[in-house]
Symmetry: C2
Subunit: 176 residues, 2 copies
């Protein structure tokens, strides 16, 4: 699919079918995250990919609004280093979600409200060091739910966007 | 360009030619930002698009490492509401940067270190309210520099990525 079409037609989608995600598609999605740029190329993001659906349901208990994970085929926990920014996590996540949609796979990021819960369950480095960067104390920014979209559930319900003239200012914000 | 190809070949690029960016391309880039999803569809992001290159140089003074803006054709300040997350700002920014690359336009996000400086220059709402959401006190997360890539400067210098096996964990982080 053309990149522009994939970007503007992607909607965060919460209901999925039971069709599994092929491994080669999942690999492309992960590669899309890996290739996202980051501040000074510090690469503060890591992924924990959860394919065991019973385990994914247990992990979902760390979030208040993680229903999308209960029906997802795969969950991808987007982890960020303590000195990394959520902005860079968002870049990697969006790359993965657009790459998924390019394969016909729907996604939804779900927040993780209980960080001690998720850090414990996923075994994120706390006192220990990441072997690549030596950073300590990681967090989970979101868990992305992935699956083929359930056709009986409208994808875009309530997902309207503001007018482009409200979204964009030219040269300066003042004077609106 | 295929979405996957656009995503994995995009590199943050700091040097640009003097070729202007056509209006219709810029409009598609802005639309890509607008269509990015956000937490509960709260849409916490707004853009200030700077096409006046002298004005862009003045604006660049609010950042320590904003050299890319000095040679850019356009700057897009990605603004975020006080209760919005940098994660959602990253989603919108990545959408725009991939959509730009799909048109052959290179980009680089630049940090804005002096927030009072940029808030003053761009006239972001402080005490006042945003007319759409009623939120107060906006910030600039990054300014994206845009331009056609300068061919004499290698795009990917120093932009290596870690190995996929270091980037991805399966089921749990523990045990590595």
């Amino acid at each position: 699919m053309d990149a522009y079409k994939a970007i503007v037609t992607k909607r965060d989608t919460r209901a999925y079918t039971n069709q599994p995600i092929p491994d080669e598609m999942l690999q492309r999605i992960l590669q899309a995250g890996r290739m996202a740029g980051s501040s000074k190329n510090t690469q503060p993001v890591r992924l924990v990919v959860i394919r065991d659906r019973e385990w994914l349901k247990e992990v979902a208990e760390c979030g208040k609004f993680s229903q999308p994970l209960l029906g997802a085929q795969v969950g991808i926990a987007v982890c960020c280093a303590p000195d990394g920014s959520d902005f860079d996590a968002g870049r990697a996540a969006q790359n993965m979600m657009v790459a998924a949609w390019n394969e016909g796979i729907a996604t939804c990021p779900t927040s993780v409200h209980d960080q001690p819960c998720i850090i414990e369950k996923l075994g994120l480095p706390r006192g220990g060091e990441d072997p690549v960067t030596g950073r300590k104390g990681w967090r989970v920014v979101v868990i992305i739910a992935l699956g083929y979209p359930e056709p009986s559930v409208p994808m875009s319900m309530g997902r309207e966007r503001m007018r482009i003239d409200d979204y964009v200012h030219w040269e300066r914000w003042v004077g609106r």
